[in-house]
């Protein structure tokens, strides 16, 4: 088990040692090491993406009482391969009126941040590709690049649906980034660091011998996790926040004019971005690579990490299968009038929890601090939209 735990790192080191004994200079080895790590991470995430693209369809199908893809390969698992082959060989159409350079660049720009943010996630015990002191900040800073890409895609297509979709996407992403960042800050605040590995380390250990010290088990952590989750859904443009791609209104939003490989790139970047934000969620609130129960710590940490990521991704599909889309004004109102105040409440609650000694009393105090705003905001928010039970008249 110990061996398995260290397997990825040891494999890499062994490979480098062999190369070193062959006389490859030191500097070159460092670069090679980096390339190996990058390759592994990208490879794993591409694999996850491929798996996800078919699993999502299968999960949705199961929710809807059907089988889902099951013809291509065993259990339909080769479906992404088929999709990939088809996408690659598909004709690449660029609309005549499009801005060709920007149209070409947009998927590239989309891909870059999605891949960059993978660098700072702690995949397992001592397995962080780049140990950054302000890793969380890096995550959000680089993630902002996707907005540029979406805007480029929407504008360059020179199609009214695309521009409208892109504008919606930007408005939505800017609005949801704020509660997203603030709820992430709570975790950083309690851990006392912006470094993801420190945050994960702070969630180690078990209370009463079995209850993990994950932030999600505390009232403020739970609230912040929910807020972060909602923000993450919005950031990755997933249902119910998929307004930019609102099919019934806007064709396919900013992606309307993309075909073939460029579309595949977008698709891939979106999924990898989604995995990245799931990874962040796991890191911040679900204890990263920490095992959920003491006796399970023997299972390698990186398995836990990816297991949790897959679980979060599954819940995202579940959400998609359940909820209808929001309307654009509700969406923004929800971000500014509910999520933002709630994230401040979570922030305050985290502070209370910290200063009240992190014990049962702190637990209760922080619960009150998030509970009251939730009720007040929730009720006022729902009554604002005249959401009410109704009675109906019947005539015989």
């Amino acid at each position: 088990m110990e061996l398995l735990e260290r397997a990825p790192v040891e494999l890499k080191n062994a490979f480098l040692r062999v190369l070193g004994s062959l006389g490859v200079p030191e500097g070159m080895l460092a670069i090679l090491s980096a390339v190996l790590i990058i390759g592994t991470v990208i490879g794993v995430f591409l694999g996850l993406f491929a798996l996800m693209s078919v699993m999502e369809r299968k999960i949705l199908a199961r929710v809807q009482n059907r089988y889902g893809p099951n013809r291509a390969g065993p259990f339909g698992l080769f479906q992404p391969v088929a999709d990939g082959i088809k996408m690659l060989t598909k004709e690449d159409l660029v609309p005549r009126a499009a801005d060709k350079v920007v149209h070409f660049l947009a998927p590239v720009v989309m891909m870059v941040p999605a891949l960059l943010v993978l660098a700072i996630l702690p995949y397992g015990r001592d397995m962080v590709p780049v140990e950054l002191e302000s890793g969380i900040l890096f995550f959000f800073a680089v993630g902002a690049g996707t907005e540029v890409a979406i805007f480029m895609a929407g504008w360059a297509s020179n199609n009214k649906y695309s521009v409208l979709g892109a504008m919606r996407a930007i408005a939505q992403m800017i609005s949801y980034e704020i509660p997203l960042v603030i709820s992430a800050v709570t975790a950083a605040m309690i851990a006392g660091s912006l470094s993801p590995s420190v945050i994960v380390a702070a969630q180690g250990g078990f209370a009463a011998g079995f209850l993990p010290h994950w932030f999600v088990t505390t009232p403020w952590g739970f609230t912040a996790a929910l807020l972060f989750y909602i923000g993450a859904l919005a950031e990755s443009n997933r249902s119910p926040f998929d307004l930019p791609e609102g099919e019934s209104e806007l064709v396919a939003g900013h992606l309307t004019e993309y075909s073939g490989f460029k579309y595949a790139t977008f698709f891939m970047a979106e999924y990898i971005g989604m995995f990245a934000i799931c990874g962040m969620f796991v890191t911040l609130f679900l204890g990263g690579w920490q095992a959920p129960l003491p006796f399970l710590t023997v299972v390698p940490s990186w398995i836990w990490f990816f297991g949790k990521v897959c679980f979060v991704a599954f819940t995202m599909v579940w959400v998609r299968a359940t909820l209808p889309r929001l309307r654009v004004d509700h969406l923004l109102a929800f971000a500014w009038k509910f999520l933002l105040p709630m994230s401040f409440a979570a922030f305050l609650s985290a502070a209370c929890w910290h200063y009240a000694g992190r014990g049962p009393a702190a637990w209760f105090l922080s619960l009150v601090v998030v509970g009251i705003p939730y009720l007040v905001l929730g009720l006022s928010f729902t009554s604002r939209f005249s959401v009410s039970r109704r009675t109906y008249l019947f005539s015989e």
């Binding site: 800073a141 540029v148 930007i170």
Partner: protein
């Protein structure tokens, strides 16, 4: 020279990359900024401006100011650039085609003149300022914690003032927007 750099590349890639890691963003920054000024297409200009923001952020990071670099990216690329884009898109794209502004009569000469004057003023201040006389400190990273302590400690008064100011601005903006809706 190329041979030499190639050699460094092979022997000590870190150093080699480090150099280029500073030079390249700076070059991109300058080119993108210039393009942002020169390009006629408003959206292209904005995209170039965004690129220059990104390059600046990378430059900060390369110079060791990680925190500032990330904040630059987060705020400028994530928010400011997008707000500019929004402003452009909301002012009706069809009117953008013929951008007849009041200054367009002056032609490129006027623009160049304004640019050079600004540059001159900035350079003048730079060279007359006492900071420029000090010798440059070596690359040192400022840890996030230190910045935090500084903000909450030495500069807390300033922070509070800035906070109040921003809140007031926000409230003002909200009030303005509401009036607009009512009318």
């Amino acid at each position: 020279m190329i041979c030499e750099s190639l050699k460094t590349c092979f022997d000590d890639p870190g150093k080699f990359l480090g150099e280029w890691f500073v030079l390249l963003p700076a070059l991109v920054l300058l080119l993108a900024a210039a393009a942002a000024v020169v390009l006629r297409n408003l959206i292209h200009a904005t995209l170039c401006l965004t690129l220059s923001f990104i390059a600046l952020g990378i430059l900060f990071i390369a110079l060791g100011a990680e925190f500032v670099g990330f904040v630059q990216l987060l705020v400028y690329v994530g928010a400011v650039a997008m707000l500019i884009v929004f402003a452009i898109l909301l002012t009706r794209p069809e009117r953008l085609a013929k951008s007849d502004t009041a200054l367009s009569g002056l032609g490129p000469a006027g623009g160049a003149l304004a640019g050079f004057v600004t540059l001159g003023v900035l350079l003048g201040f730079l060279f007359t300022s006492p900071i420029a006389k000090k010798s440059l400190p070596g690359p040192a990273s400022a840890p996030v914690a230190e910045i935090g302590h500084a903000l909450m400690g030495d500069y807390k008064a300033a922070l509070i003032v800035v906070g109040v100011l921003l809140t007031a601005a926000l409230v003002g903006a909200a009030v303005l927007a509401m009036e607009d809706k009512n009318s």
